[in-house]
Amino acid sequence: MRKIRVALAGNPNVGKTAIMNALAGTSEKVGNWPGVTVQKKVGKYNFRGFEVELIDLPGIYSLTSYTLEERVARSFLLKGEYDVVADVVDVTLLGRNLYLTLELLEMGIKPVIVLNKIDELENYGYTIDKKALEEVLKLPVVEVSAVKRKGLEELSETFLRVATGDLKPEGFTPIYSEELENAISLIEMKLKEEIGENFPYRLRWFVIKLLEKDPEIIDYLKENFKKWKKILKEIEKIEEEIKRRHKSDLPSFIARERFLLASRIATAGIRNIVELPTEKLSDKIDRVITNPITGMPIFFLIMWLVFKITFDLSAPLGDLIDTLFSDVLPSLVERALSGAPPFLISLINNGILAGIGAVMVFLPVLAILYFLMSILEDTGYMARAAALWDNFMRLFGLSGSSVIPMILGFGCNVPAVYATRAMRSAKQKLITMLVIPWVSCSARLPVYAVFTAAFFSKNQSLVLLSLYGLGIALALLFALILSRVMGAREECEFFIELPPYKLPAWSVVINQTWIEVREFIFKAGTVIFAVSVFIWALASLPPGAPYAGESSIVGHFGKLLLPIFEPLGITDWKPIVALIFGALAKEVVVGTLGALYGTGEEGLEKALAQTFTPESALAYMVFTLLYIPCIATIAAIKQESGTWRYPALLIAVELTVAWTAAFAVYRLTLLV
């Protein structure tokens, strides 16, 4: 079968995901662009004997090289490893969207224009003259509604015709004002004097980007042109003239010219305009929900609802999965294999089944939370929440978009890490996912519950609050440090488009949830499973040793680590082994302690009272809060950042901070 590669380019919020979903269904694979935290989605479908591969480029407003997303999209487009570029345009914001189209044309790309959301036009008081647009742009134009599945057949057909050469779009060359055109010709002439044969760019595009002071292009000029100083000086002269006449720097001047040309083209394609009132109901709503006084209570109410729905719905499912993998299936195995060596039964029950269970138990929370988040995103609330929180988050070098992932972290760190996908800035996304593990997730609560009941029954809530507070403070502190180190401050200058409110497109939301859950099972799930089996091996070897007992490898390990924990007031190896198991999921700490002290979870408080003092109990809780994230979170961070480097760094930092904080708490409380 012949393959066709189609790259989807377009602004954020134009409905590229919906188009992907409508054409390629759930065939979508989610990954990262090489080496960066920018998401890459690829989908496939068959059409008239061709296999069409859709590559979703990051949503961008322009094609400069200032942000990671723009660089990823641009370098993909420059490499030219595609048959067709589809420029997805939100028809309700035609002028604004054509800005990117002009940039594509400047690059020499002749995209298929996909006018999406054509069904929504009736609310906007105008219609589109497709023919007129095709004539001006000299490009094929297809009207589509991805959500209502209209125009898809024609769209695929157009891809096919362009890919096979049956349709050869001529492509319009954007011509700007005389002033700008003169500047372009002048620099073009200077460059032609020493242009090499292997010059990889389209000259006109290269010149425009030079005038826009594009950092990547200026670097190329410096490396490849001997007279680069002279050329940059010439550009400076042009800029001075522009500044004098238009009170604008050169890059802004060019952007403005492009924007005005895009608006003119849009006007040529718009018909039957009816004047609509510019004040909309949504403006009234926005004023309420982005004003801190009214917006904050609404925000917390919505987040509370999200958690309530998630945990109410997922708790019974989670219990069911837990019973299945730790009770029902193991006893079946024991009956079926009665007489088999206990080692084998332990491998199946404590190793394999427990490993699968460790993956499965996350699914209900993950699926429900992801589903609810897609709804918040799709209805347009997410952008408002980001705008609402921006002022506060700026204090810590982050922007408003990082608030929702961080708050989700209180429920479960795993979906919180996945929620950073909705963030636009790659640097801030990385910072956010690295600080999420400091946020105390609900799985750590059972540990606090047991210890506070045993030692701090009088001021249980004060201790709990302090632990949560410590987690939040460290998350924000590390965000501040990381944003300084990584230079994310420029990206702090925040603005976000507020898409119109709308009902979620259910088919898209459901398909996307399914795709994410499937990716989790295959990518994070394999890591979680492997580590579970590995820890089982540590706990049951050498053969004959009681499971996780003193003579097992993990028991030896616990005793070996004892000197490190003695300064924290921990004098027994059992709590240390419990911490090692806690890497699977933090609530496992309690279960392991119960098993090791032979008390079960009920009599555990008494046993702990003999091993711990109130001071060392506090240190142990602080350590549990801060030490390594659970395996599922680590796997999620690996999956999202695309490398093991960040999770490895995170583990090292967290272990250091956990020990230091626990030590400080232990010593300070001894003094009091």
Partner: protein
């Protein structure tokens, strides 16, 4: 006067934007550049919301203080 100080409901013309080329370029691509006319839908507390080229854009307070405007 900056965008931060503009009253809700008024129309303004952008005179100047302070910041790196990166920010200025991204703002220009959505229609916020010197010479552009926008309507202020919401003013602080919280972000400033402007109507520009048919869409609504929320601008953080820090950014809004860097956008110099004049009333129309």
């Amino acid at each position: 006067m900056t965008l931060y100080e503009v009253k809700e409901g008024s129309r303004v013309k952008i005179l100047n934007i302070t910041g790196g080329h990166g920010v200025k370029n991204r703002l220009a691509a959505i229609g916020l550049f010197p010479g552009a006319e926008v309507k202020v839908v919401k003013s602080p507390p919280g972000p400033v919301i402007v109507e520009v080229a048919g869409s609504r854009v929320a601008v953080g307070q820090g950014m809004a203080k860097k956008v110099e405007v004049e009333r129309l």
